[in-house]
Symmetry: C2
Subunit: 185 residues, 2 copies
């Protein structure tokens, strides 16, 4: 919600009232409360949609892709959708507010945990067994989180999708068992 | 704390009082409160020690190990220490209590998040750069979590350390880029 992010950026999350957000967005308070239960909700209104979109994207990933490739495809689709929906500046304001408030960080962690659970279930449906499904889901959300944070900090206008692909490639490199001849002990 | 886990298992976490825990452990309430701020704390008293132990183990991992190998060595050391410190039955009771209470789950997630942060810092100190350090740390804690849960459910007496090594190997397999000839499109 652009109006809210502008206000949070101008005056700080704690000082902004719901009335002000509604006014800036050209809504009555009554209408605001039809969409959001409270001010906090403005920061997390996209969470359920994100869970659904990620599950859908994974379900639609080509059947011949490996679990990790399918998660990579899903993250790619999600990154494009997220980037179309919110500018990096808005995302930065939101993330700054969340990381500065322990109770909001708790909710952010719960959201990430829901994403892991949703991915795990979707991977089971693709026939992936345990513990592989849980590990791919955790690894996928790690890539999502790290790629997202790198995108927020990026000064070269690299897209979110590209950052997630970089994070995925990096994960593949760092988890690859190292070639033994490199060891000298 | 064995006395507390026995009581939680017998009567349910919510019904057990601090007075009862103290009595079962042969402590006065006063002494109990010297060690724990409240009943919740009994479930999380090991958290800080775990963070320190994991950091120490990573710092002590051989310098020629790759970041992921070093995290594997650290998890191995931690698993052995954890298993010496608490039986699987006690760990099961604790985890059952935690997962049944949303506010305790929040704290469990915060603990995991602290472990990721501690590992990331320790990896930076080993000279690992971003985003590799964050990804190795996240992957390592995913291995820890999944390995730990598999150990809790195990009926064949496989050790926690072994479960973590299985989880690590599985992660390496699932993140390995698939060989192209396998694709038929």
């Amino acid at each position: 919600m652009q109006a809210a992010m502008e206000l949070f950026s101008e005056r700080g999350y704690d000082r902004v009232t719901v009335g002000e957000i509604a006014a800036r967005a050209g809504l009555t308070e009554r209408t605001f409360f039809r969409y959001f239960t409270d001010k906090r909700e403005v920061l997390f209104s996209g969470s359920d949609m994100l869970v659904q979109a990620l599950t859908k994207a994974l379900t639609e990933a080509p059947a011949d892709e490996s679990p990790m490739e399918a998660v990579g495809s899903a993250l790619d689709a999600i990154a494009r959708a997220l980037e179309a929906h919110r500018t990096r500046d808005e995302a930065k304001v939101r993330y700054g507010v969340v990381t500065a408030h322990p109770e909001l960080m708790e909710r952010e962690r719960a959201k990430m945990s829901k994403l892991v659970d949703a991915l795990t279930v979707a991977l089971h449906k693709r026939g992936v067994e345990e513990p592989a499904a849980s590990l791919v889901a955790e690894a996928g959300i790690a890539v999502f989180r790290v790629g997202f944070e790198r995108w927020l900090e990026d000064e070269h206008d690299v897209s979110m999708a590209e950052h997630m692909q970089i994070a995925l490639k990096t994960l593949q490199q760092v988890t690859a068992p190292s070639v033994k001849p490199r060891k000298k002990r």
